[in-house]
């Protein structure tokens, strides 16, 4: 046996040995803390009024009575988030607050800072949403890798959320398809496609870009109404009494 032949065999064996590592690294890496890019990102999906069916257009207009600019967010008093309900899917992705992605074999976790740290689980094992699965604010998501893209389908969404800050309503038939991919060393893009046979006249799309923040941590955020919870607790106001109020109410104001 010549040294060259043996050397060649050794190189080949080493390469074969490292092949599994190389293949494993081909899966896109979304791990980390991400925020929306841009100096003052718009917290809405899409441009202008979304393609809503009549009844849902009426609800959208009701959410925006008296607002001058299309860029303004919907009315506070109509916004579920003001009532301590979560942002949910997909609104969390339009927020300026960060989210963190944790990829494990079989599951991708997306943890949002907004909204009580509510989070998504994206199942990668191809499971279907079970029969009679209750609607949830984050929905039921399954995903698969397609080259450098993670393609995610979400259904089973609770109709109580606003799709975005402008006050876009939807039904429990909303289905969201996302295509997530790394677009640069510290960048990610998500292309969203929204379909809702009951609420929208057609499917529509929007894309958001995110920046990786290696020095950021998600902070605890136990809910939009934490100040109210703490206030009523410190006042020992039990939930059965009519004294349950916010600090502003106690001060005689709004």
């Amino acid at each position: 046996m010549s040294i060259r032949f043996v050397g060649g065999m050794l190189v080949m064996l080493t390469l074969l040995g490292s092949a599994p590592v190389l293949l494993a690294q081909a899966r896109p890496d979304f791990n980390g803390v991400w925020t929306r890019t841009g100096p003052r990102p718009n917290e809405n999906f899409g441009e202008g009024t979304p393609p809503l069916q009549a009844a849902f257009r009426a609800a959208y207009d009701e959410n925006r009575v008296g607002l001058a600019s299309p860029a303004e967010g919907g009315l506070d008093e109509m916004d579920p988030v003001i009532y301590c309900l979560p942002h949910g899917m997909p609104r969390g992705y339009a927020s300026t607050q960060p989210f963190e992605v944790i990829q494990t074999p079989g599951l991708v976790h997306v943890l949002f800072e907004a909204s009580q740290m509510l989070r998504r689980r994206i199942y990668l094992d191809g499971r279907k949403m079970p029969e009679n699965y209750p609607p949830t604010y984050m929905g039921f998501s399954t995903g698969r890798y397609d080259g450098d893209t993670l393609v995610v389908e979400t259904a089973g969404l609770d109709e109580t959320t606003w799709l975005d800050t402008s006050g876009t309503p939807h039904s429990d038939s909303l289905r969201i398809t996302e295509r997530m991919r790394r677009s640069g060393p510290d960048r990610m893009e998500i292309a969203f496609r929204f379909e809702d046979a009951k609420a929208f006249t057609r499917a529509w799309q929007d894309s958001k870009a995110y920046q990786l923040r290696t020095d950021w941590q998600l902070m605890e955020n136990t809910g939009y109404c934490e100040d109210r919870f703490r206030y009523n607790y410190s006042q020992k106001v039990f939930k059965g009494t009519v004294d349950w109020q916010s600090p502003e109410q106690a001060a005689g104001g709004r």
């Binding site: 080493t14 009532y83 009580q116 509510l118 989070r119 109580t160 605890e220 919870f229 607790y233 109410q249």
Partner: protein
């Protein structure tokens, strides 16, 4: 003999080159991942039998929290922060039987709880609690592996929570040390040590066991007050008006 020696050495080296790549990981570390649910009876358990070693001011609060109830079993609803829509926090949530999922990465271990959808993040990179870090319900946790055990230190806890369902108060000086170990493939054991120089007269310890639930999922759970939020939302009861109430209030309770 010499003819076989060099090929044997080369084959051995090639074999060594293949093995680590085939394993796909750099060093063994205890695998705590999975969905776990506390064993034993009761949706929530106390951490110990009988009163903990409390300083006088804390003992007074503890007795008020237990007033009229069987000692060491429960605390008064109207004084329980969880009834006011606040989360259980650390360590109370560890004594509940609603499941949590452990997800381990190289830099952190996260515990994803079903109750209130809260999460704990345990940093593995040795970082310290930053100066002036705001206190929180879940605290700031750092951990390190010690053989088959994950040792976790938690500080930075706010003083709004009950340590457990019996109404044990604590201060912001509370530090919790946990030793988490997979005692069997389907069993997680956590040994707790509680220290609070402002509230306790001495540190004290507790232990809980959790069972692996491979066919469970963590469900979405917004919190104890979700019914109230939805009720007020449907009624468009804006938080600034006097109409903000619970369904029971609406029914005239």
């Amino acid at each position: 003999m010499r003819n076989l020696l060099i090929p044997s050495i080369l084959a051995a080296v090639a074999g060594l080159a293949i093995l680590p790549a085939a394993q796909g990981q750099s060093s063994p570390r205890p695998d705590l991942s999975g969905i776990w649910s506390r064993t034993g009876r009761g949706a929530h358990q106390p951490f110990r039998q009988g009163a903990p070693p409390l300083q006088a001011w804390a003992k007074a609060i503890y007795e008020e929290n237990e007033q009229g109830l069987p000692p060491g079993e429960d605390g008064r609803d109207d004084l329980d922060p969880v009834i006011y829509c606040m989360v259980h926090g650390i360590p109370r949530i560890m004594a509940g039987n609603q499941p949590f999922e452990i997800a381990q990465t190289a830099s952190q271990v996260v515990l994803l709880f079903e109750a209130h959808s809260v999460l704990r993040r345990i940093y593995l990179d040795g970082r310290k609690l930053p100066e002036n870090y705001p206190t929180s319900f879940m605290g700031f946790s750092t951990g390190k592996y010690d053989g088959d055990t994950l040792v976790v230190e938690t500080a930075g806890l706010n003083d709004l929570t009950w340590l457990d369902r019996t109404g044990i108060p604590h201060s912001e000086a509370l530090r919790v040390t946990e030793r988490m170990r997979r005692a069997a493939q389907d069993t997680l054991e956590i040994a707790f040590r509680f220290e609070d120089p402002k509230a306790f007269t001495s540190p004290w310890e507790a232990k809980k066991t959790y069972q692996l639930k491979p066919d469970w999922e963590i469900l979405e759970n917004i919190g104890y007050c979700e019914d109230r939020f939805r009720y007020n939302y449907k009624r468009k009861a804006f938080r600034g008006t006097a109409d903000w109430q619970s369904p029971e209030q609406a029914r005239g309770r």
